[in-house]
Amino acid sequence: MPDVLVLIEHADDTVAKASLELLTLARRIGTPVAIAVGGPSPSVVEKLGGYGASTILSTDDESVSSSVTAGVVGLLASLISSREVAAALLPSTAEGKEIAGRLAVRLDAGVLTDAVDVTSSGGEIVVEQSVFGGSTVVHAAATRGVPVITVRSNSVTPEESPATPSVETVSVADDGGRHAAVTSRSPVSAGGRPGLTEASVVVAGGRGVGAAEKFALIEELADVLSGAVGASRAATDAGWYPHAAQVGQTGVTVAPQLYIACGISGAIQHRAGMQTAKTIVAINKDAEAPIFELADFGVVGDLHAVVPQLIAEVRERKG
C-alpha cells in the first residue's frame, strides 16, 4: 500500500485529537506515515503508534520549525518526490491550509480543503465536503498529482490500531526562499478546557452575555458539559473573550455534537463557523433572532436566568 503522509500536531507529551482522526482516515487509503516536526517525545511516539502510524518521520531542523509554514512545505514536497505517496492529509487549520496551498502549487497537484470524510473508491481518493454553510454535500477528487487534502477536525472518531512505528529523522535542505519570521508568539491557553475545534460540546456567548465577567457563566456551563468556550465577534471585539475563541467566518469553524449559543443573534458570518454542529441549542431573548432558524431547541428568554438553571440541572442529573 502506498504511503499516506499525515502532518501531526503535537506539543510536549500530547498529540492533537485531530491528528488521531487523520491517522484513522489515512489507514483507509494507505499506510500512515506520521510527520512530526520537532523531535516527538516517547509518549507522542507511543500514541501515534497506537493509532496505526507505521513510520514516524521527525525533524529537528530549524528551517522547518521557525518559518511560517514554508519549511514544512519543503519537507512534504521532498517526501512526495522520493516515496510512493497516495495522498497528504493535513489539519484544516489556518496553517494546514496554507501548507496545503503552497504544496499544491509546488507539486502542481489538486488541493481539497475542509474534507469531512476521505475514502478510496476504485483506486481514486474521494473526499466529502460540506459547502455553502452545510447546505450542500459534495464529493470531489484530484485529477492531477498527489491529492493534498485538509480535513476538518471532529469529522471521524479516532480508532486505535496498534503498530510499532519506526522513527526516522529526516532533514530538509534550506529551500533558499524568502520567508516571514515569527519574532514573538503568545500561545492561547484554553484554561484547561478541550480545544475549541476538538471539543464535542461548545458553549458560545455573544453580545447578550453583557460583560467580560459574565463570561464566567458561559465557562461554568462549558465546564459542567466538559465543553469548550466559543464567542461571537461582538464578544471578542468588546474584549470580553479572546479572539482565539471567535467562532465564524474569520474565526474558528467548529462541528461539535452540541453547540449552545447564548445571546448570539446568528449573523451569517457567525453561522459560517457553527452551522454543521450536529445539535444546536439557542438561548436568546429576541424571538426573531436568526439563530432560531438553525436551532434544534430554542429558548426565547434571558440567558442570565436560563443558563444558571441549566447548569444546576446538568449538575444534578450528572450526580
Binding site: 487549520t93 489538486g110 488541493v111 459534495v138 485529477t143 492561547v188 460540546v201 474569520t250 429558548v299 426565547v300
Partner: protein
C-alpha cells in the same frame, strides 16, 4: 510603493448558493454578485497604508466574469487608484491552482511591493489564496493579519490564529491576508463614487498575460466535483418561551438526544 489588493466578486452573503447541475461550478447567475466583504478590509488597509506612507499607489485586481467590474468600481470609489480586471471566457470553472496562476501573472505584470487579500472568501472558503500567491511569486507570506505596518523595505504583521497571537516580520515584497479585526472599512463618499468613474481601469485577457487557455478553466482543473446533493433540512425544531423552567427543559432535550 505599489500595493495590489485582490478583490473577489462573490454571491451576496445572504443569498442561497448552489452548484450548477450541468458542470458542478458555482451558479453565479442564481445570486447577486457583490465584492467579498472581507476584501473591503484589505482595500481599507491599503488605503490606510497609503495615507501613512504618503507616496503609494493602490491597484485593485479581480479575476472574474464581466460582473466583477462592479466590485472593482466599489473599491475605486472607496479610494483605490487603479483597477485591473482579468476576464476571459476560458477562465470559467478555474480551480484555486489556476486562479493563483492567473492572479500571480497579473500581479507580476502590474508590479508590486505588497499584495493584500482577504483571509478567506465567502463562497469558496478555502483560505489558500495568499499562500498560493506567495509560493508562485517567491515572496514571504503573512496570513490572518490583525495589524500591518510597513516601511519602504520591510513588513511587520500581527497574526491571530486559534492557537496563538504572533508577531511576524518579513522583507518586501510580500503577501498579506487580513482578518476583519484589522480596521473598519470606509463607505464610499459621493465624491469617491464620482471620482471612480474617471480612474484608470484596464481589462486583461489570458493572452495579455501570456497564459495558454488550455492551462486554466474547468477542463484543466486539478480537482473535480464528482457529485453534489442538497443536505436534507434540519429535523424538527422546538422553540419555547421561558416560563421559568427553560433550564430544565433544555436539560430534558439534551437527555432525549443522549447528550447528557
Amino acid at each position: 510603493m505599489k500595493i495590489v489588493v485582490c478583490v473577489k466578486q462573490v454571491p451576496d452573503t445572504w443569498s442561497e448558493k448552489r452548484l450548477d447541475p450541468a458542470d458542478q461550478t458555482l451558479d453565479r447567475a442564481a445570486a447577486d454578485g457583490v465584492i467579498d466583504e472581507l476584501d473591503t478590509y484589505a482595500v481599507e488597509e491599503a488605503l490606510k497604508l497609503k495615507e501613512s506612507l504618503g507616496d503609494a499607489t493602490v491597484v485593485v485586481l479581480a479575476m472574474g466574469p464581466a460582473g466583477a467590474a462592479e466590485s472593482l468600481r466599489k473599491a475605486l470609489s472607496m479610494g483605490a487608484d487603479e483597477a485591473v480586471h482579468i476576464v476571459d471566457d476560458a477562465l470559467h470553472g478555474s480551480d484555486a491552482l489556476a486562479t493563483s496562476l492567473v492572479l500571480a501573472k497579473a500581479i507580476e505584470q502590474i508590479g508590486y511591493d505588497l499584495v493584500l487579500l482577504g483571509s478567506e472568501s465567502t463562497d469558496a472558503r478555502m483560505g489558500v489564496m495568499a499562500a498560493m500567491l506567495a509560493e508562485r511569486l517567491g515572496v514571504p507570506q503573512a496570513t490572518l493579519a490583525s495589524g500591518v505596518a510597513v516601511d519602504g523595505t520591510s513588513l511587520r504583521v500581527t497574526r491571530m490564529t486559534s492557537a496563538a497571537q504572533e508577531e511576524v516580520a518579513a522583507t518586501l515584497p510580500a503577501v498579506v491576508s487580513v482578518l476583519e479585526k484589522i480596521n473598519e472599512p470606509r463607505y464610499p463618499s459621493f465624491k469617491g463614487i464620482m471620482a471612480a468613474k474617471s480612474k484608470p481601469t484596464s481589462t486583461l485577457s489570458l493572452a495579455d498575460l501570456g497564459i495558454d487557455a488550455s492551462s486554466v478553466g474547468l477542463a484543466a482543473a486539478a480537482t473535480k466535483v464528482l457529485d453534489s446533493t442538497a443536505r436534507p433540512p434540519r429535523g424538527e425544531r422546538t422553540i419555547i418561551k421561558d416560563d421559568g423552567d427553560a433550564g430544565a427543559r433544555i436539560a430534558d432535550f439534551l437527555a432525549s438526544r443522549k447528550l447528557l
